[in-house]
Symmetry: C4
Subunit: 207 residues, 4 copies
């Protein structure tokens, strides 16, 4: 399950990198989004896999004596697969079809809302309900900055909502069309269920 | 009282979202403000309700086994009500009347100063004076970023002061009119009293 | 000594507000700088005075029962005096004479370097060497963001150096004139000595 | 070894300052990058040397009684040497030859990737695998913001990758040329090995 954690963390790292740099990517946003998503994935997965998300980090931790040699290939393969999957998603989200900022293309918005609501719930469950991370002072930082990173990454695709209550508020303010509410309900609740399933899979002893 | 905490947290989340995106909302400010306000409300309310502020998160925590089934409807209702109240406030603050950045419209400024000074005092009392959060390392982050989120959300409505001493300083620097000092004194001290009352309500056993 | 801590914290809060908003102050910088300086001053002074820096917060903490009535007037007076002193400094730094960004006006640069190197050393001593804050996880955040807030506040006045080694590096890179090195040496080392003195004054039992 | 830690920390502080200010340096990026790199180097080195990285801080800590007189000259010399080395690197990275943003100049890209992947692995090993920092809540913040600071500092030189899996993802997205993959593999893995060696050197009793 350590490998699944490495896959997920690297996947969200590379997805965020891709979404924020594919259209050019200068300025303050890509580094802020990338540093933030790496931070939150480390807080979420550190207690399971050590949260490397990077073959160079795995090499460094192995040489320092905190990663068994037998785990090294699995870690690196999971990281590269996570990056490959992320690149495919980024190409889908941003290029297929070319999405104009501000318009809602349903499959892209569904995917974007599913992915980052999954990230949000995955982070919440790991930093705020896991036995292994109990008593930490970083849960608020981790959860808040997941939404920040998601808003930077896919805000122009789906509005960066990740929350059905927020969708209701945005409808009242005229920022989301009533006809699109189902996109958020479906994607956000499905992502919540998926995150709970994955949490149980990677934390089998934490009831 | 868990429901009140969920209402307050979702209210400030959606208020900050609304205030920063209603006029367009591209760029670095909305994600930074939104991630920050979510972070601070989680640090403030986590010890009472778990600080979900999101029906998808409530579903995920329920499926993971850390939210009793009987609480789920109440959480979700409180969250949606918080979002609805926030949307109403945002429409009032930003549209009624249309506020030009830099001019002080008294009712809007009073509301903006009251709301975010309340948020500030509510966060301070919960992260820095509560028995349940004693010994944390996040109190400074939570309090500082409350002011940051508030300044992003309503800085163009009231100046984002939230502090009578700051109002005095800004008058000396010529950034606040002497005739408007009462707005800050009234709104800030009333918000402080309201926050103390709410704190006692949600922490009945913390004398 | 609690009152001195309230004075210092409010002083740096209002100085940072003033320096970042006096010339207009829209955009991401003022809220980020203000939230950060408040955060770092809370981490620095929380263990001595509770770090209110705001009469509304003092009122809220008093009503909640964590600030004795006899301390309330002293806290509020210290906060207002800190704000007044800050406003005077801001007017001196930014208006007397009008400073063009990029030119070094010696008295202004000396004052700017002295003030924020004092803030830096004051924060370091309180978060990283005090018995009362031992074991915290926020020392790096507090110290790093002090420099960030200082660079936002007075970067256009003195370069935002606060560090003689950095001054040497900037001379080699051609960003600081050799003839100005004394400004940094004098202001930075004097500020260090002042911060050590103040630390001992406010922490008399911490040898 | 305390002196080596002071050298490394000041080196990365001044490298980040130089890279972000040498071409002009107004705006939000330099203070954010500088505050972040100082923060991460403090989290990485605090348990060994106290993480001063600044002769003024060393003076303040000495006067407060937490730095022995015999260490003061060594600390200050290490800090100035770190700043000098950083200035030389910055001049090499940014001026020799003049690098256009977006083009990959191989020696510059190799150096940039080596340096900040070293910083990343050095921070990971110290904050997430050291006995002396076990149980902290800042490891994710420290690691994530190392990448952020590196992306700000050298993003325009090498793309700010610091991670072979990310390089693979960026190749798939068409943001890195396949022919350049060796730059990342060589620089990143070499940096990981160097960081592991340095970690063992500065933490001789932490097996």
């Amino acid at each position: 399950m350590k490998y699944l954690v490495e896959f997920i963390g690297t996947f969200f790292l590379v997805t965020t990198i891709g979404c924020t740099v594919i259209d050019g990517g200068a300025g303050v946003i890509p580094p802020l989004a990338i540093g933030s998503v790496l931070m939150v994935m480390i807080y979420a997965g550190g207690h399971v896999s050590g949260a490397h998300y990077n073959p160079a980090v795995t090499l460094a931790v192995f040489l320092r004596g905190r990663c068994p040699a037998k785990d090294v290939p699995g870690y690196m393969i999971a990281q590269v697969l996570g990056a490959v999957a992320a690149a495919a998603i980024v190409l889908f989200l941003k290029k297929n079809p070319t999405v104009e900022s501000g318009t809602l293309v349903v499959p892209n918005a569904l995917a974007a809302e599913f992915l980052f609501t999954f990230a949000l719930c995955y982070v919440v469950l790991n930093v705020a309900t896991s036995k292994n991370t109990a008593g930490n002072s970083n849960y608020g930082l981790a959860i808040g900055f997941t939404v920040m990173a998601g808003a930077f990454a896919v805000g122009d695709i789906s509005g960066g909502v990740f929350n059905p209550a927020v969708a209701v508020g945005l409808i009242m303010m005229g920022k989301v069309a009533v006809a699109n509410i189902w996109v958020y309900l479906v994607a956000n609740f499905a992502a919540a269920a998926a995150a709970a399933t994955v949490f149980k899979l990677i934390n089998p002893n934490d009831k």
